[in-house]
């Protein structure tokens, strides 16, 4: 039938145009990068098992002078304002650090924070990183600290908690009422760039981009101020889920209403078709 042929031609040219301005243009403008890799290959893996009791001693002696561990009732020694002005950024709470960060990453971070976070373009001898290196500890002691941090995590952190601990020191999520712990002016002077509010990031960047970006920011944007935070795959999924739950809050409603709207229009179309056939029978 002629109309089918015309429809096919219209659809063909529409599809070619769509392909050109969407998938093809995107593939040209955003060259492919390797997907997120949670093996942290550049960091030497831990090859000893840690001792929890010794880890506790080490953490109490070295870490809680700056860090809080709120689930153990250990509050930060300084107010956030004082910490931000002293260090440039508020030190993270360690309540879930042993679980949300990769074990080998944590060990690598303790030894060489700037190297592990991929921030050598921002920090060096001239501008030291707030977190000092603990490379003077032995491999065994590093493993002990990691084992202790892992051991203190009693329950699985919620998506929001993972976000707050891993991202909330710099990033706000204002559509969920979360304000970055460090004021943006401090972050700007500390890292050289303001940390954007991430309420809409799930829509502006999409989940696929975010998963690679969070895993390794410098892979996506050269020279970016954002550190590699070393999240495990599961925690990163929790962060992205949380971002989606805030930035695309109506997704479930959209997807269920979609079926009803399409169904309604399909039935309308069918009835309209039958009516058309009946009316045109008289004239054709």
């Amino acid at each position: 039938m002629r109309e089918i042929k015309i429809l096919a031609i219209v659809l063909f040219f529409t599809a070619v145009t769509y392909w050109g301005v969407e998938p093809y243009a995107h593939s040209q403008m955003h060259p492919h990068v390797a997907p997120a890799d949670f093996s942290f290959k550049d960091i030497e893996p831990l090859h000893v098992n840690g001792n929890i009791e010794n880890g506790q001693v080490l953490v109490e002696a070295n870490c809680i002078a700056c860090h809080s561990i709120k689930t153990l009732g250990l509050e930060a020694p300084m107010s956030v304002e004082d910490a931000a002005s002293a260090y440039g950024v508020v030190p993270p709470d360690l309540s879930h650090a042993g679980v949300i960060y990769d074990k080998n990453y944590l060990a690598g971070f303790l030894k060489d924070p700037v190297g592990a976070t991929n921030l050598s373009h921002k920090f060096g001898d001239a501008k030291p990183y707030a977190m000092p290196s603990y490379s003077f500890l032995s491999e065994q002691e590093i493993a002990d600290v990691v084992a202790y941090l892992k051991n203190i995590v009693a329950t699985k952190a919620s998506d929001k908690t993972v976000f707050e601990e891993a991202c909330g020191r710099c990033h706000s999520m204002k559509y969920d009422g979360l304000k970055a712990q460090t004021p943006n002016a401090f972050i700007k002077s500390y890292l050289g760039a303001e940390a954007p509010d991430v309420s809409m990031m799930i829509r502006s960047k999409k989940a696929e981009y975010l998963s690679t970006f969070i895993n390794e920011p410098t892979k996506m944007v050269e020279g970016i101020a954002m550190p590699r935070v070393g999240l495990t795959e599961a925690s990163q999924d929790q962060v992205i889920n949380y971002m989606e739950s805030v930035g695309d809050r109506k997704k479930a409603e959209r997807e269920s209403l979609g079926l009803k709207l399409i169904g309604f229009m399909a039935i309308f179309t069918l009835i309209a078709y039958l009516w058309k056939v009946q009316i045109w029978k008289e004239v054709e």
């Binding site: 109309e3 243009a25 809409m200 979609g258 229009m265 309209a272 009316i279 008289e282």
Partner: protein, 416 residues
């Protein structure tokens, strides 16, 4: 005054006061449409439906939108998208309908070109249609500004800056349009006014003129057959419906339109709920930031061919700056379709393109060239891309320069 008698019912009561029966006859039941048309002729009604969708959803969005650079982004992305019940639906419908409107306009426009519907007394239909296209373009551009996202801001910056190419007064015109030295709050509020009041009014008026201009030369048909509408409609009214070559707008023609509209709206809602991102640039979900230029700045897909003509001329030719050549080409591209009826110099041939020996190549070349321009209008203009864009822009202009010669030549063939 006519004599008013006791009415026999509501319709009669209205008929005595508003002549609704005569009105219905003229507008609907005795407005004659050729029988020999295909679904492409339903695109006008699809556009009317889409315009209705845009109007209604636009009014709903207007209740919550704040035309202020400090509030606009959050009023759209938080208040409307998250707090207002079904606000996301109105916004997605509005955004997708805007994009879909242009797709249908292009199909409508190419249908007109293919079947020669811009010729032989139908010039005013064509010209008012092109005026509508320009009005819709302005409407789309002013609306794209309103969410005050990154692309809204930078697109406005780039597009308003185009006017600086006007000789002598260009720079002042840019400031006059922006209401400020840069795109800022004054720009947003005036674009808001244009988008929600002035341009919709213009569009409604021009739609009315477009419909009115259809009434005398009548709608064209698939074979571009010249019909005697008086004779054919008489047959229909006498009951010789199968023999008559025309049908009334209501209910016969509209019954087919309802089916086409239903089919289209099914796809439309699938897009609204599952594939809205084709009509919403992700970069626009980042708030406008005048300190941070996006890596790639490009307009919405329906302006890409135009944009590529503008930037296709990327090197100076014969002492003329690339920017000036591009601007001239851009202005030509925006008005050249308007004068199409006068560029087609074959006075006899209003046949569909497939029956015209040379014109058919011209038509399909134009379609392909515009698609190439559209695709390359989005790609970064570097290396090979820049040259493809240049060639496609030259071909585009060349096609319109060649049209009078081609059709003149065709006319000679027809005369023999």
């Amino acid at each position: 005054m006519a004599e008013i008698r006791k009415s026999e019912g509501l319709i009669d009561w209205l008929d005595q006061r508003l002549a609704v029966k005569a009105f219905m006859r003229v507008m609907m039941t005795e407005y004659w449409i050729p029988k020999n048309i295909n679904f492409l002729w339903a695109m006008g009604v699809v556009l009317v439906v889409l315009f209705g969708v845009l109007l209604v959803t636009g009014l709903l969005l207007l209740m919550y939108y704040k035309p202020d650079i400090n509030l606009a982004f959050d009023s759209v992305n938080y208040t409307i998208m998250q707090e207002v019940e079904y606000g996301w639906l109105w916004r997605h419908m509005h955004g997708v309908a805007a994009s879909a409107t242009f797709l249908i306009i292009y199909i409508h426009l190419f249908t007109g070109i293919y079947y020669g519907s811009y010729k032989k007394g139908r010039e005013m239909i064509w010209i008012t249609g092109m005026v509508l296209f320009i009005a819709f373009s302005a409407e789309a551009f002013s609306g794209y500004m309103l969410p005050w996202g990154q692309m809204s801001y930078w697109a406005a910056q780039v597009i308003t800056n185009l006017f600086s190419g006007i000789p002598v007064i260009g720079d002042d015109v840019v400031i006059w349009i922006r209401g400020d030295y840069v795109v800022a709050d004054a720009t947003l509020t005036r674009f808001f006014m244009l988008h929600v009041v002035l341009l919709p009014l213009v569009i409604i008026v021009v739609i009315a003129v477009h419909f009115y201009s259809l009434r005398f030369p009548h709608v064209n048909n698939q074979e571009s057959e010249v019909l005697n509408f008086d004779m054919e409609s008489k047959k229909f009214l006498e009951g010789r419906k199968k023999e008559s070559k025309v049908v009334p707008f209501w209910p016969v023609f509209l019954s087919k339109d309802f089916f086409v509209v239903g089919f289209f709206m099914t796809v439309f809602f699938a897009l609204v709920c599952y594939q809205f991102d084709f009509a919403m640039d992700p970069i626009n979900f980042e708030p406008a930031n005048s300190m941070k230029t996006p890596a790639h700045i490009y307009p919405e897909w329906y302006f890409l061919w135009n944009y590529e003509v503008l930037r296709g001329f990327f090197f100076d030719i014969g002492g003329m700056a690339a920017m000036d050549i591009g601007l001239i080409a851009f202005v030509i591209a925006n008005i050249v379709f308007m004068v199409l009826p006068f560029l087609d110099r074959n006075p006899m041939n209003t046949a569909p393109a497939h029956k015209r020996p040379v014109f058919k190549y011209w038509f399909w070349l134009l379609v392909c060239d515009m698609i190439v321009l559209t695709v390359y209008g989005k790609l970064p203009p570097t290396g090979v891309n820049a040259w493809v864009g240049f060639v496609a822009a030259v071909v585009f202009l060349g096609l319109f320069i060649a049209l009078p010669f081609i059709t003149k030549h065709e006319a000679k063939g027809d005369a023999q």
